[in-house]
């Protein structure tokens, strides 16, 4: 097993045919992690013992003929999903050493499916960032170019999948945190419809936008992993109580006659030429497969950034109020009194981007500014959502770039929050509207850096965009490309 680009499907077939055991597979991935993680820093925590124990259990289950497609598959969790007894940091000093007393529902479901959890992946602190540079545990590097960012906030998961340090990983997406890192590392990632996947045990950033989802090599794998984590959960009151379709069964329906909308607003100024031409090529693939490409308009796309950067920090400032140094998390040394304990624990426990967003959120919610900012943003959010409702009257899915450009250099935007925020320009309106969206690889730029495109579906139509993505991946091989890491091992 020296291939970095093994898929869930391939691994699952090999396990079932007894060509390899789950223990052997797990050992192979742990070996790759030992050789490569020091340079890439995709993992914050590697849990070798538990992984091997889970692998043994998976082998027993396979022997009994009771395997699911995830049984014995070595995966990683973004360090935002609570894992019982295993350190969960959310990329923050605040949660260094925090061992959750319970599992997130996503964690529970993947454990029950027999998946092997290798460890926890690095991320921007509290999922706030687009580069994984705000983590207290150091930057994660892009396996395609170690001097570049892996995207964020699920940058550790993206780098781990791209470098073959796991077969697949979980991520979370509040404004693009699954799709943007997937795009810049050349993998496939999906943000489900809000409510499709339980948020129980996911450390909250912006509760009306957060959604967990799979980060994999292919659409086929994404369908398999989504199947095991999706579905109603009584522990999350926003979890949708509806039936989960069989995502894999719907993959091969083809796209003949489907209408794919291409919004003019997403192909204007600021889009790099290489990205534009890669998507032009992809359009031809869709057209050859029988889809019809239709020009559409999403007029409020331009105000998604200000809308999002009011709503998300507002919710964050409220969610992060719980970190007060009392019940769990970081506490400062020798507090003078309770106020000092709160203010100093928070000042020392949080990094600068988190503090910036807490202050921004506190400001827009504060008396006198609430109507001017927060209320107005909620109204703009409605207009952005209406754009999609209208578009979906005439098209089945929407195609856009995932990001304006490919992976930028480490440090390039770190001190300029506004520039950093603009890297989410094509992804955040999907969260504001609560829609499913995915990114998949569609080419490389002149520096051999992966390019991603985004497919946006109707509410609850993950199956629709997965089917379009799978059709594309049957015709192209961008998704099977892996970075050459022979020089760093």
């Amino acid at each position: 097993m020296e291939r970095a680009n093994l898929t869930i499907k391939e691994a699952s077939d090999q396990l079932k045919e007894r060509k390899i055991s789950a223990v052997e597979l797990t050992r192979a991935y742990l070996g790759r992690i030992n050789a490569l993680n020091e340079k890439i820093n995709a993992y914050v925590t590697v849990d070798e013992q538990s992984a091997l124990k889970a692998a043994e259990a998976a082998d027993a289950r396979i022997a009994k003929g009771e395997a699911t497609p995830m049984t014995g598959i070595p995966i990683a969790h973004k360090d935002l999903f609570c894992t019982e007894g295993v350190q969960t940091t959310c990329g923050s000093r605040m949660l260094k050493g925090f061992k959750p007393p319970y599992d997130a529902t996503v964690t529970t479901r993947l454990k029950e499916s027999g998946a092997v959890i290798l460890g926890k992946t690095n991320m921007d602190e509290f999922a706030m960032g687009s580069s994984t540079e705000t983590s207290y545990y150091g930057v994660t590097r892009n396996p395609w170019d170690l001097e570049r960012i892996p995207g964020g906030s699920s940058g550790g998961s993206a780098a781990a999948v791209a470098a073959g340090l796991c077969v697949a990983a979980t991520g979370t997406d509040t404004g693009g945190s699954i799709r943007q890192p997937a795009a810049v590392t050349g993998i496939t990632g999906l943000k489900p419809t809000y409510g499709r996947v339980s948020r129980y045990g996911m450390i909250a950033f912006a509760s009306s936008l957060d959604q967990g989802g799979p980060m994999c090599r292919t659409a086929e794998d994404t369908a398999i992993m989504l199947q095991s984590i999706a579905g109603h959960d009584a522990k999350d009151s926003t979890s949708l109580n509806i039936e989960t379709p069989d995502f894999s069964a719907l993959l091969n329906k083809g796209i003949k006659g489907l209408k794919i909308g291409v919004p003019t607003e997403c192909f204007g100024e600021g889009l790099e030429d290489d990205v534009r031409s890669a998507i032009d090529e992809a359009k031809k693939v869709f057209a050859d497969a029988g889809a019809e490409l239709v020009t559409i308009s999403l007029p409020y796309t331009g105000v998604a950034i200000p809308t999002y950067y009011i709503i998300a920090p507002a919710e964050a400032s409220s969610n992060l109020a719980r970190y007060d140094g009392v019940k769990f998390g970081y506490r400062c040394e020798n507090p003078n009194d309770l106020q000092d304990l709160y203010s100093r624990s928070r000042a020392e426990g949080f990094g600068s981007e988190v503090k910036r967003r807490i202050m921004l959120g506190t400001y827009v919610l504060s008396s006198g500014y609430y109507d001017a900012y927060y209320r107005r943003a909620q109204k703009a959010r409605r207009l952005i959502a209406n754009d999609f409702t209208k578009a979906f009257e005439s098209v089945d899915a929407v195609l856009t770039p995932t990001t304006p450009g490919t992976a930028f250099k480490l440090g390039e935007k770190k001190d300029d929050p506004v520039q950093m925020y603009l890297s989410d320009i094509y992804t955040i309106n999907v969260n504001l509207a609560g829609l499913p969206g995915m990114s998949l690889p569609c080419g490389f730029d002149g520096n051999n850096l992966p390019i991603g495109m985004q497919l946006i579906g109707k509410p609850l139509d993950e199956a629709g965009i997965l089917r379009i993505a799978h059709t594309y991946q049957k015709e192209t091989d961008w998704h099977s490309k892996a970075p050459d890491l022979s020089g760093i091992a």
């Binding site: 009584a234 019940k327 203010s343 909620q378």
Partner: protein
Amino acid sequence: MAIESEVVKHVATLARLNITSEELTTYTEQLSNILGIMDQLDQVPTDGVEPMSHAVDVQIPERDDVVTNTNNQSAMLANAPDSEEGHFRVPKIIE
């Protein structure tokens, strides 16, 4: 919209964040820049638009009022920075 450093100081107090004078300068500048892009919302015709507070229009579900969690006091206290005799410990509040 530019924001005064006095306002940033007040916001930091509300948010229970100690900030240094250097941080105050940096945050004042950065928050002003960020609020600058927020002003784009002035061009959006929001009169009469119903505010959207949630992505999906669903009712809050109800459930029977029964206890579902067990007493796991020791597990909860295991993550506490300071505890004593089954309680979280904080500095003295009342003199």
